[in-house]
Subunit: 329 residues, 2 copies
């Protein structure tokens, strides 16, 4: 594998000139440019990013911090990030923390050690203190989940309003006994969605009952089933359930079917995220659409902006209630 010196020698010019044609920059005669390009072709030369990156003190890599790649919610955001990153000549390092602090730390080290130019954090379980300390010297953007007072820019949706509208929809179609399957309230989005749930109930004169609110450690199918099992065991059984993720909703759906009950006739369900699978279930899922792809592109563009040294502002994107079969006979 040739290096820049050999190309320079072969072309009969200096390395500086080779570098200039490589970067389409500076002033190079058409004649010398051709000499250099010929040499490059002849020697099969590929400029090494290792050298360039060291010289430029950049890696052109964006670190994406997610809890798990298994949740399609994140896959869709990642698609957006990747497309935007590519457009600016960045690439993405995928980092699944599995909510494991040790693993998280390995990934943080990558930016400390200059292997990544910035971070898009989507992990609700991220250690905020560490993240904030890191943000003092590095470019970081929060995506979807965030801490308001961290001073770290974020892109997200209005979780409270989204939950509010989901529950209001259930009330509008006649439900009064509405359960909530939430995730752990240590997460901001969980607290926000709970607020929206409660607000919708109160506004309609429905009492908020503690025994109608459930919490899960993760946002998966199994957790949805387990929570739904508890709900089905309730003496005064709810006629509708609002879950904070489609995966939870799909688990709940399964459990309801298992008990020989029907959705939405016996129990209506609303999910959250509008992942692809929410349209594949039977019945299809009413859910809150988050603009995931857009969230990804925006987060990436914000990060790249920040890396450039620009000020960037946080942004709250629109969501949308998608009414489907699980709430309408």
């Amino acid at each position: 594998m040739a290096n820049i010196h050999q190309v320079a020698k072969y072309a009969g010019v200096s390395v500086a000139t080779v570098s200039r044609v490589l970067n389409d920059q500076g002033t190079v005669t058409a004649k010398t440019r051709i000499k250099v390009e010929d040499a490059i072709k002849e020697l099969n030369y590929e400029p090494s990013m290792l050298g360039r990156n060291l010289r430029n003190s950049e890696s052109r890599i964006l670190l994406i911090l997610i809890p798990t790649i298994s949740n399609p919610f994140y896959s869709e955001i990642i698609k957006g990030i990747e497309t935007a990153a590519l457009k600016h000549n960045y690439n993405i390092l995928l980092c699944e923390t599995d909510s494991n602090p040790e693993r998280e730390n390995i990934y943080f080290d990558l930016v400390r050690k200059k292997m990544a130019d910035g971070i898009i954090s989507m992990d609700p379980a991220v250690n905020m203190e560490t993240l904030m300390k890191l943000a003092e010297h590095h470019s970081i953007i929060q995506c979807s989940e965030y801490a308001l007072d961290s001073g770290i820019p974020y892109v997200t949706i209005d979780n409270e309003d989204a939950a509010y509208r989901a529950v209001k929809h259930l009330i509008r179609i006649g439900h009064e006994k509405i359960a909530l399957i939430n995730s752990d309230e240590k997460f901001l989005y969980a607290r926000q969605r709970k607020l929206g749930y409660q607000k919708a109930l109160r506004e309609n004169g429905i009492e908020v009952q503690d025994n109608y609110m459930f919490h899960t450690q993760e946002l998966g199918f199994d957790q949805g089933r387990q929570a739904m099992r508890k709900i089905l065991d309730l003496d005064d059984r709810p006629t509708a359930v609002f879950t904070v993720s489609d995966l939870l909703a799909i688990g709940a759906l399964k459990e309801i079917h298992q008990h020989g009950l029907l959705v939405p006739n016996d129990i209506a369900i609303v999910g959250f995220d509008k992942i692809d699978f929410s349209n594949m279930t039977h019945p299809t899922l009413t859910t809150i659409a988050q603009p995931m792809y857009q969230m990804g592109t925006i987060a990436a563009n914000m990060l790249i902006d920040k890396i450039k040294g620009n000020e960037v502002d946080s942004i709250v994107l629109d969501h949308e209630l998608i009414i489907r079969e699980s709430t309408s006979g």
Copy 2:
């Protein structure tokens, strides 16, 4: 941000000594080690991988080439890759080609330009010529999909046998009119699975009918629905369908429900991959389990071995038929 020189100066030693304690290598007195470690702490020094990588001519990054992150089949493999990579101090660059050659080329450039030390290719649509040319000078492993005569090591399963067993299961429970929803036969796995399908039929004296075999461009839900719609339109309607991916199967399932028919009573379905969602549908899906996580760890270990300069052998992993509700009343 301090560099190694400043640490050396602060500690009153040479940069070589700092490098030695950094890499836990060479011979350093406990006393000097402590001096250096103190300096590191004092200056908040973090060694730059940019410098180290240039010096060592390595990036410690593994490039993962997948068609799309949306298919959970790949997510699970990626989990395996990431875990194995991390164990060896490698990180993974996620590259979705979307079966777009232009995008593929951008990613190939990353290894040409030393930004990645090797590739795990899982894209069935990969340009084999380019891949083989690249393999002359770079470490590459094929995962799941492969070209036998490429000379590039692979890890996969026995697709023909897997399909054979899936169809045989359908025959055993009494089906004779069995349709196939396959993907494009330009892919090796599609040809192999078709062979298995045909073999099972022939062995049991069932005629292979061309009008029972369908092809789709992608392995998704929508393609499954469309194919199933055609099957339902058939004059002599099959009583069972073997699909080459769970996503296709889920689409087929949906379409069958839509027509007011029941699975498995009216039509039985077998999927392929055992993605998490195959257990969330109603009914749950009979499917072929691929050891995805294991495939990921093995592929990563093979690649790391290859980067080290070792010979690595291709490997065929076991699969398993998982019988669930979609084939058993």
